[in-house]
């Protein structure tokens, strides 16, 4: 019988620890499939963040270097400058990338480092239990915004991908989602394209992935997929934000 679906070679034979319905597992798979298809498992280096994906090295069968919270782009810069012929990516959440790591992300993008950033936006701090993230929506309830996020007290959701798109140093930025099969296919294409751009020395690329967090959103997996469509995407519309090669 013909085998039509299997675990990507770049993922270890280990069960994910992620909660049921979480978007991380899908994002991991898309990255692993892209690595396999581009045949770069032997020369890619990943930088996982502090956050739910902190032990990504238990899942990816590639070389990985843990980064302190928010410093993924600085760590990736160090690796890439020493090993310019390797493919280097950081994997970061919204708090990691757009709060504590704002400076590192912004300036790596501004320098036009030839690295790829996978930016998981689930509008919440997942691992620490559902606190307000920089991308939390106005009115969204979190454990640190119990009455809902207030623009006056807590500020507005940060559109980091759009901000980075303004920088001449960035080459490819796209926002995707993993809540429907169609969106997953598009996200896969974007991740693979970002790696391909890096291999072609095009420059800095970032793929933002709107990702479900049923546990902290206090929803069922199905409800959270719908919430991405009906609420999260209204604030963070999908699509290519910048593609300098297009």
């Amino acid at each position: 019988m013909k085998k039509v679906f299997s675990r990507p070679k770049s993922l270890k034979n280990t069960a994910f620890h992620y909660c049921g319905g979480c978007g991380h597992s899908i994002a991991h798979r898309l990255i692993a499939e892209s690595i396999d298809e581009l045949d770069i498992q032997d020369r890619i280096i990943g930088v996982p963040p502090a956050g739910c994906a902190v032990i990504a090295y238990n899942y990816f069968d590639i070389d990985m270097l843990e980064s302190p919270h928010g410093r993924g782009c600085a760590v990736a810069t160090g690796i890439k400058r020493v090993l310019p012929d390797r493919v280097v990516f950081s994997y970061q959440g919204d708090g990691d990338l757009a709060a504590i790591g704002t400076a590192e992300t912004f300036h790596a993008a501004n320098r036009g480092e030839n690295i790829t950033v996978i930016f998981i936006n689930n509008a919440v701090y997942g691992m620490t239990g559902g606190q307000m993230a920089p991308t939390t929506l106005l009115g969204q309830v979190s454990t640190t915004t119990p009455p809902g996020r207030s623009a006056l007290l807590d500020g507005h959701p940060v559109h980091f991908s759009e901000i980075l798109g303004q920088l001449p140093g960035t080459m490819y930025i796209e926002r995707c989602a993993v809540n429907t099969p169609a969106n997953i296919m598009k996200a896969k294409k974007a991740v693979k394209k970002a790696f391909q751009y890096q291999m072609d020395n095009v420059g800095f690329s970032l793929i933002e992935i709107l990702s479900q967090c049923p546990t902290n959103w206090k929803m069922s997996p199905l409800e959270s997929c719908q919430w991405v469509n009906e609420v999260l995407m209204k604030e963070f519309p999908l699509g290519i934000i910048k593609d300098s090669k297009r």
């Binding site: 990816f60 270097l65 600085a74 160090g78 890439k80």
Partner: protein
């Protein structure tokens, strides 16, 4: 050649191929030297980072990727780097960090000071770790110890701190650069893509308490070996000394001048100069206590290394302290007066 620039030249000669730094006085000439001279190498990288935190984390990435990597700063900047230094220690990665100390706390000033002794010798960041701390007292020693720092960092896969002050960084003296030994760093620790082998990861997060404890004890055993093997010190006029000054770096230079003056006045005083502040020359100081019971610790702070001297002596002998914090540079004449007063009190 100026001290700051000497550190840069010695680093490049020692094979440093990655430098990231951020402007801060009084160490700017080092950053500028690296900007200008890393280009000499075919494969070297210089980055002016957006922050001290970014600089040390770039060094983390570069060190993991197999480069000899260095960053430098001055006191407030070193505070910011502590997150990365703790991670380098946890990950067992080699790197050299230069601290050209200035007056503190807070922003303080830009004058020479030794206020960062506690921070340097107690790890400095969070968690149970140590860094090797080298304290040069001349421009020649800045060159020699910078080269040694890279070898020590590799040998123990641990961050090494060069702890000097604004005086050392700014002053010029003749210098000769020695020929560095070829680098010996096992390829198995380099993260450069899995190739045809097994995938590797480097991390400090160990969620299981027992395994985390094991990792802490493993680091501890390494620190024990360093303590046994890497203590360095200099003695000066100690043979017939009845009073012993303990001082390092700039303070030790001032002490030498003061000792010459005191000797002319017939006061038998000598100097123990720790070159490694961690590991601290505990046994050396203890062995002197068999013969001398009068110690004067002299620092450009309000009293930090004095605690290590007291620890070394364990209650034997008399330990007194003289210090000038905040960027004041005492003169040899001033210290000679203190020594004379100290000798009379005895």
């Amino acid at each position: 050649m100026q001290g700051n620039r000497v550190i840069g030249e010695a680093a490049i000669r020692a094979g440093c191929r990655f430098y990231a730094g951020y402007p801060i006085t009084p160490q700017n000439e080092l950053t500028e030297y690296m900007a200008d001279n890393m280009r000499r190498t075919k494969d070297g990288t210089f980055i002016q980072a957006e922050s001290e935190i970014a600089a040390i984390n770039m060094v983390l990435g570069a060190a993991a990727a197999g480069a000899r990597a260095m960053t430098s700063s001055s006191s407030p900047g070193i505070s910011l780097k502590q997150e990365g230094i703790s991670s380098l220690a946890a990950d067992e990665l080699p790197a050299v960090i230069v601290n050209i100390m200035r007056g503190g706390p807070g922003l303080g000033n830009i004058l020479p000071s030794q206020g960062d002794y506690f921070q340097a010798t107690r790890g400095g960041g969070h968690g149970d770790y140590r860094t090797i701390v080298l304290a040069p007292a001349s421009v020649q020693e800045l060159a020699d110890l910078t080269m040694d720092a890279f070898d020590l960092a590799d040998r123990y896969r641990n961050p090494v701190l060069i702890l000097a002050d604004g005086m050392m960084g700014q002053m010029s003296e003749p210098v000769e650069f020695s020929e560095p030994a070829p680098r010996q760093y096992p390829e198995c620790y380099v993260l450069n893509g899995r190739g045809k082998g097994k995938s590797k990861f480097i991390r400090g997060l160990i969620l299981d308490a027992i395994r985390m404890e094991e990792h802490n004890w493993k680091l501890y055993r390494k620190y024990q070996v360093i303590t046994q093997k890497e203590v360095r010190f200099e003695t000066f006029w100690t043979d017939d000394a009845e009073i012993l000054i303990v001082a390092y770096g700039t303070a030790a230079r001032i002490a030498k001048g003061a000792i010459k003056r005191s000797r002319e006045m017939g006061i038998p005083v000598g100097l123990i100069r720790p070159i490694t502040l961690w590991p601290f020359p505990m046994e050396v100081i203890r062995s002197f206590a068999e013969r001398v019971d009068n110690f004067l610790v002299f620092e450009m702070n309000t009293g930090q290394m004095v605690e290590d001297v007291q620890l070394a002596l364990g209650g034997i002998g008399k330990v007194q302290f003289y210090g000038r914090p905040g960027g004041v540079i005492p003169t040899p004449a001033e210290l000679a007066k203190v020594i004379a007063h100290h000798a009379r009190k005895k």
